[in-house]
Assembly symmetry: C2
Homo-oligomer: 691 residues x 2
Amino acid sequence: MYHKHHTPVFFCIIFLLLTIGSAVLSDEGMWTFDNPPNKQLQTKYDVTLSQDWLDHLRLSSVRFMDGGSGSFVSKNGLVATNHHVAIGQLQKMSSEQQDYVQDGFYAATPAQEIKCADLELNVLMAMENITDRIRGVVKPEMSEHEALKARKAEIARAEQEYHDKTGLTCNVVSLYYSGEYWMYQYKKHTDVRLVMAPERQIAFFGGDSDNFTYPRHDLDVAFFRVYENGKPLVCEHYLRWNSKEFSANELVFVAGHPGSTRRLSTYAQLKYQRDFFYPMMLDLFHRRIATLNAYAQKGAEQARRALPQIFGLENSKKAYTGEYEGLLEHAVLEACKQREDAFRKLIREQLEWHKMYSGAWDTVTTVMNKQSEVAKQQFHQNLRGSRLAGIALTIVRYVVETKKPDSERLDGFHASQLDRLKFYLLSSAPIYPDFEEASLAGMLQLSLDELGTDDPFIRLVLNGKKPEEAAQELIGGTQLAYVKARQELIAGGEEEARKSSDPLIALAWKLDPMLREREEWNKKNIESVLMPATEKIAQARFAVYGKAAYPDATFTLRLAYGKVKGYPMNGTQAPYKTTLYGLYDRALSFDRQGDYELPARFWERAAKVSLATPANFVSTCDITGGNSGSPVVNRKGEQLGIIFDGNMESLSGRFVYEETKSRAVAVHCAFIIEALRNLYDAQALADEIEK
Amino acid sequence: MYHKHHTPVFFCIIFLLLTIGSAVLSDEGMWTFDNPPNKQLQTKYDVTLSQDWLDHLRLSSVRFMDGGSGSFVSKNGLVATNHHVAIGQLQKMSSEQQDYVQDGFYAATPAQEIKCADLELNVLMAMENITDRIRGVVKPEMSEHEALKARKAEIARAEQEYHDKTGLTCNVVSLYYSGEYWMYQYKKHTDVRLVMAPERQIAFFGGDSDNFTYPRHDLDVAFFRVYENGKPLVCEHYLRWNSKEFSANELVFVAGHPGSTRRLSTYAQLKYQRDFFYPMMLDLFHRRIATLNAYAQKGAEQARRALPQIFGLENSKKAYTGEYEGLLEHAVLEACKQREDAFRKLIREQLEWHKMYSGAWDTVTTVMNKQSEVAKQQFHQNLRGSRLAGIALTIVRYVVETKKPDSERLDGFHASQLDRLKFYLLSSAPIYPDFEEASLAGMLQLSLDELGTDDPFIRLVLNGKKPEEAAQELIGGTQLAYVKARQELIAGGEEEARKSSDPLIALAWKLDPMLREREEWNKKNIESVLMPATEKIAQARFAVYGKAAYPDATFTLRLAYGKVKGYPMNGTQAPYKTTLYGLYDRALSFDRQGDYELPARFWERAAKVSLATPANFVSTCDITGGNSGSPVVNRKGEQLGIIFDGNMESLSGRFVYEETKSRAVAVHCAFIIEALRNLYDAQALADEIEK
């Protein structure tokens, strides 16, 4: 299945948009709702989307800040998404006594619904282009570093201003890498309750083996309900389900929040990804999985605690492996190179463009070379694997930054961002110290192995101790697992926090200067140089290709389109859909072993199930991680399914979209309805959806 | 599915055996029954096969001279094989009014069984090593050409002698390329009657798309009954079916008749295959398919007439494409090169071996270069696409050769071979002149395109006419479609035949000298030089590796072994078996369109079918084309299934066996029994098998 979006762990370079020539002919693109692919839809499908159609779909779409997408599916605030988007919250409301991840959950009445610890949902209410405002603050006399600071300050100011004006959560989004700045204005929901989730066994049927593959048969769905003032949210906009009409080759759309693509990275940036980023990340996944598996083997409760993280890591590992293999394939990188060469040739041929833009690519190459030199060190000089460590590092910054005037604060600590920050910082979600300790120790060992004992980060954190010892002292001694301890630290301000004897807080105070120095170095040497260069490339692209193009993914709402269609696979054809016959076939083909066993109800009630019901289906829609949970709708705007994965062949779509074999995989609504009615005794829920 | 064995169209070089080092550890090999892989079975599976076990399996195994394998499955001469092995005979007994290929057939009583036009089955009764006898006739003073002739004459003599002695059909088989000569002695059956065949729709479910792929769901089975003296053959040896016990990883065996492999071709021979043989063959398939499709589109009856040939050609095209892609893959050819280099190094290191054998590889290279020069010309100077043209060419040879003393005759016309020859020559199978004409015209056009108007073959055959005109005159004018006309020509002898005004016979008389000249050139320049060279390589191999090895496939009985096991596929795992759930899933996944529709009875009786029944399964057994119809047996010698295909990943097994992904695909006996009892009302047949 698709990895949910997660913010890149390591560095943050924003990438550029794609569109040249033949791309227009394929079902390519993750389009912003202000700039839908009208021309392609008219030319290829003879369809024109009305503004009402677009608005309705946008206002029915939901962003999960956990990383994922969803949609409203009833007028009473019911939200459908993937089980694997919900799994974090399911885990947080579970305990040794009651495991909702394993057993599933259904609230037959509203009173039985369970409130989530820290789930935030967003609905995009409005978007406004504020490019001129943000660009306007940069003056010619400013250095690159000063220009960067000025923009960041203006962004923070604008966000606060819009929030004050609208009451909405307002984020500036940089599209087309500083080609445009938009104010995205969200209605934020934090009273979200679990309504229904099936057993993980059927949501993730086929396990890591079948993940990112197709034909597939997963019931990867979960339902939440949004509350406002203690009552179910009354939805003006929600998607009606159509589980009856569905056919091969029909036009469909996906509205969701793709996390990140790198389709218009320069060749130098892609080589950096190939040679540094991916090898380091895969190494990290490998090590973390090994560490967590060792922990999980200690017992059933340990296995339960570790499961969602292991699952997420396995998922990321498989996705990154596919993406990495794409980069290693000569053809993918060569396609990027050719695209870049053709583009640069057009720029060179017009003197004015040449003067303004041609130098930008060399600048990017220089920056990437500089980044390569520090890549390994910066990657491993990090405290990983411990949520408590992350909390400690955030608290020591919080108490310092919030004393400053807003415009001087670090990103993430502006006034407009504090609500969200505290929501997560003070979450009541359980933290298991023994798990934290094992996980932190494993990650410290990796840093030690990679950096050696003489590295300043290692000296500071380990101080001659073994990773296990250090982790034991830090996690064993900290009080941060208690929300109250965090609250007191935040409330006490810098002076109190500096006096704290909590070992994690003490370590954070020691580490923070080193991290700040590094961030400052990165801003000065990487970000502030890269930004104007890639901005120039973006402007060059507008000059050459106009705006008949979409920006790279930014975990903001996008529209994709395509057709329901199988594809050539392994010497034959993969079908456009699978059926429940196929689900039982696959279970029995593997003798119901391991991840191929079904929940007991699937056997007990097999006779009640209509086996010809569509299970999953594929379309050519252009999606990526973060689209998990996205509604698939037909041209009437009716929901047909829920995106939960891309196939193996789609993974190199992070760099190049390819229509022949790349497919988005969705759970069919008919499977969900069939399961609710005939397997889960969830008539009320099915009725609410189908009403 | 697997292409049935067919004799290489173009040239006939015999290839060598494989076995070095690590090969022994994998489930590799197509072993002769005199030399079973005892060591591997003991080491890997802790199993020792008794002589009784081997004899029983051998005597229960059947060779289909149409190209394929089968097994006796009742004491009353019942034989099970694949539908695609039977399809030629099904077509021959069909007509515009009654199409057994499409509709299937079941004889509820023996009286309803239909006798086949020209089906010959063989059972291997005995084998005797006569290497010394054949080698003994070659004297030092003989030229290579003379030596070749002497061996061939001795082979013919020995075959006649053994036939006279035993009453059996006796063929000399050259194994390990002249490393050994064996007299294989067969009981021949020509009164064979059709008992049951399902509709081609289910036998070849998924069509050309699913062919050579897996997971798969085909009921690729047909039943014949062997008669002797007008009564069902009483079988002492037949395989009992076990459709109940079956599990992943269990040890299984396959007894069948693999047609041809090239595992120990020299590097030079493989390069010839890659650069000449495969491109020409694929071109030929492409052209023939296009020609036949054009004919088939003229109407339903035309489509029926062309179907089996189109099917066979599509099948071959997919198989050859897979094999060719294997050769184009650097890794496959490189593996062969490394194997050869390692072998030659061992030879060089011992002076005696070096002197005797080292020169052989260079000789092979020289011969292959010579062959390359004439490859295109020889390939296209052939009358193809017309059975009548083939009959004409055979008749003009028959009347000449049979006048000669046996030792001077061309291969194929020795006294011991005439029965079989006449069996086919005088077959009553229908021949459709309009089909012949269209097919011949298409092939003449290919020859014309490739050779040009000035080529002597083209001049002789077309004589300035267009291919369509020539084909119309030849097929329109010939009487050879009538068995009587053929009988009269054979009976009349050379003098009468030379006077024949039949245009195909007249053309055959003109062509024959050119073809004889070419064959003589090939014997002198290719075969007689190549034979001693490759024989030396074979002897070198015996010297280095002993006889712990199997010879390349020769369409003679072989034993393969392995385990029932899935494999890594397309990012996930292919299961070791499929079920009937999967059959219905695949039909519905494609909306029952085209080759994914099931026969009506599968829908009408769906409720009667036990969906959990295994459909097809895979094992690591080492097989190739010709193994179609082979029984898969467990260690008790009970039949579990019938081989009908290899997966895509196995196609490069023609050159190198690879255990990780290469799989043999079989119909499970449980599927057959379930279908007979609950779909085909064939209780009597099921009872006979299960008795």
